[in-house]
Amino acid sequence: MSKGRLTRHELSWLLTQEAQNAAERLRVGVQFLRTQAPPPPTAGDDPAQGVETSLDALDDVMKMLSNLNQRSVPQAPNLSGARRGRIDVAALLVEVAPDARVSIEPGSGTEVYGDEADLRRMLQVLVGHGSGEGASVTVRREGDDVKVAVALGPDSSPTAETERAWLSRVALRYGGRHELEGGSEVLVFPADGASDRSESAALRKELDEARKQGEVYARELAAVFDRGEEATAVSTVPPAPGVPSEARLMAMTKLCAGIASELRNSLGPAKSELASMRRHEVTEEQLDTIRRRVTHTQEIVTGLAAIGELRADEMETEVDLGDLARSTIKALANMAERDEVKVTLRISPEGVHAQVRRGAKALGVLMRELIVHAIEASPRGSSVDVTVVAPDGNAGARIVIDDAGSSLPASGRRAFLALETHAGAYGRPSGLPIFLAAELAACQGAMLELSDAPLKTSEAGAGGLRVAVTFATT
C-alpha cells in the first residue's frame, strides 16, 4: 500500500476494489483446481501462483481493513483548514513530500484551481508510487497544463493499480488526466486561468453561433414579410400530412351523414308548421323569407347527405370533367334560375376530353359544392364561369370556377377556408361548401386554390373569387 493518506471513504473504496479483484482471481483459481481445466487467459501463467498471489492480496486488504476499523481516522490536521481555490501544486508538493527530490522547472506558474484536500491526497498517492523516500518528482508548466511526474520505484504495491484508477477518476473530475509514461507516472491538471480562458472561448463561440443563427432567422422572417402579399395571393389547401386519405374521407362522411340526419329531422316538421302558419296573420313576404331560408338549409342538407353516401374505397374510373360539369350545372339549373344567375361552361381546349381517373361520385359532389357556392355568392343578374382545362404534359386537369360575388381579400382566405368566418363576412356566403370541396379534393389527390377572379368587362369592379382544383397527373 502506498504512503498516501486517503480518507476513510476512499480507502474503503480502494480496498473493496482490491478484495473484489482478489476474490475474482480466487474464484478462477478454485475453478481450475476443481476441474483441472486450463484457466481463462486472465488467470495468469501459473494457476497455483495466481491463487497464492490472490490470497496475499486478500491478506493485505484484510489487514488494512482491520487497521481501519480499529482506529478512527481523523482528518489530518493540515486538512482541517483545507481550502478551495487557486493552489500552487509545487508548493503543496514540497509540503506533502518533504523528503522527495522535487524539481520545479521554470514556467509561467504551477497554480491550479481546485480543492486543496483533493490535490494533497492525489499528490500523496502519486509520490507513494515513486521509489520510496527521496522519490524524484518533477513539476512543470506546459502550455495550459501543469504536469506532476514521479519516477516509478522498482516495486509496485498490490493496491497500486486501484490507486491509479482512483487518480485517473479524480484527475478527470478536475478536467485533467493521469498517464503512465515509460518509467514515470504523470498527473496533468489544467493550469489556473486556462479553464477560464477555455470557458470564455466557449462562450464567445456560443455567442458567435447564436448571432449567426439569429441573423439567418431574421433574414428568413424578413423574406416571408417581403413576399407576404405575393405568397397569399394564391391560397392553397394541400392534403394534411400524416393521415391517410381513406381515413380522412371516412371521418368526413360520418360527420356529414350525422349532420344531414339531424337537420332533416328538424327541418321536415318546420316546413309543415310553416304551411299551417299561412292561415293566420303572417304576410306573404315573411313566409317567402322563411321559405327561402328553409330551402337553403335543405340544399345544405342535400350536399351533406351526398357526401355522407360516399365510400372511402370508391372504385376509381375514368371521369370526363367536362361531362361532369355539364351534368352538375343541369342538376343545379333550378337553383341558378331561382337566384337569377347564369352558369356557363367552357372546355379548354375546346372539344378535348379532360379526363381523370378518380372516384366518380366523389368528383360529382366536389363539383356540386363548388358550383353551389359560386351561385350563392353571385348577385342576381350576374354569371358564374365554369372552365374545365384538359391535362397538358406535366400539368394536370383543372376545374376553374369564377363567381361574380364580393372579392375575398388574401388576408381573409385562411380563416374562410378554416370555417372561422361566418356567412356574410366579406359579403360572401358561408365557406362550408369550399371547405368540403377542399377536403374532397385532398382525398382525390387534388389541390384547391383560391385567388381573385379576373375582372369581367361586363361587370367591371365586381371582383369575385376564383376557385381552382388541380388534379395531380399521377
Binding site: 453561433e209 447564436a210 449567426k212 443563427q213 441573423e215 439567418v216 432567422y217 428568413e220 400530412p241 400524416g242
Partner: protein, 125 residues
C-alpha cells in the same frame, strides 16, 4: 409530435424550441450526450436534433451510434446540426446512421420542411 434537442448551446436550443413550439411540437432538450440518450430512451421522441460537439463522455456521433444500436429507438430520425462542415465529419455522421446533416447556421424553414417531410414519410405522428 415530440422533438428532442441534444445541444449544449442554450441560445441555439431556445431558437429551435421557439421554432418547433410555434408549430405545436412538443420539445425537450438535453445539454450533453449522456443526458440526451437518457431522454431518448425514456421519452421516445419522434425526431432527435443532435449537435456533434457535446460536453461529457459522448459526442454527437457516438450518441447517434448508440441510438441506432438500441432496439426501441433505432428507427428514430436523427438530424445532425453542427458547426463542423468538413466532409470527414459528415461521412462519420452518415456512417453512424444520421438521417440528415445541417450546418450551423442552418435555415429554420429548411429544418422545418425536413421534419415535416419525415413526418409525411412516416405517416404515424
Amino acid at each position: 409530435m415530440r422533438v428532442l434537442i441534444v445541444e449544449d448551446s442554450d441560445s441555439i436550443v431556445r431558437m429551435i424550441q421557439a421554432l418547433m413550439s410555434a408549430r405545436g411540437f412538443e420539445v425537450r432538450s438535453a445539454p450533453s450526450g449522456a443526458r440526451g440518450l437518457e431522454e431518448a430512451f425514456a421519452w421516445k421522441p419522434h425526431v432527435i436534433l443532435l449537435d456533434i460537439n457535446l460536453p461529457g463522455s459522448y459526442d454527437g456521433i457516438q450518441v447517434c451510434e448508440k441510438i441506432r444500436a438500441d432496439k426501441d429507438i433505432k428507427d428514430t430520425p436523427v438530424i445532425i446540426i453542427s458547426a463542423m462542415n468538413d466532409d470527414e465529419v459528415k461521412r462519420r455522421a452518415h456512417e453512424a446512421g444520421a438521417t440528415a446533416y445541417y450546418e450551423k447556421p442552418f435555415s429554420p424553414l429548411a429544418l422545418l420542411k425536413e421534419i415535416e417531410s419525415l413526418q409525411r414519410r412516416s405517416g404515424q405522428w
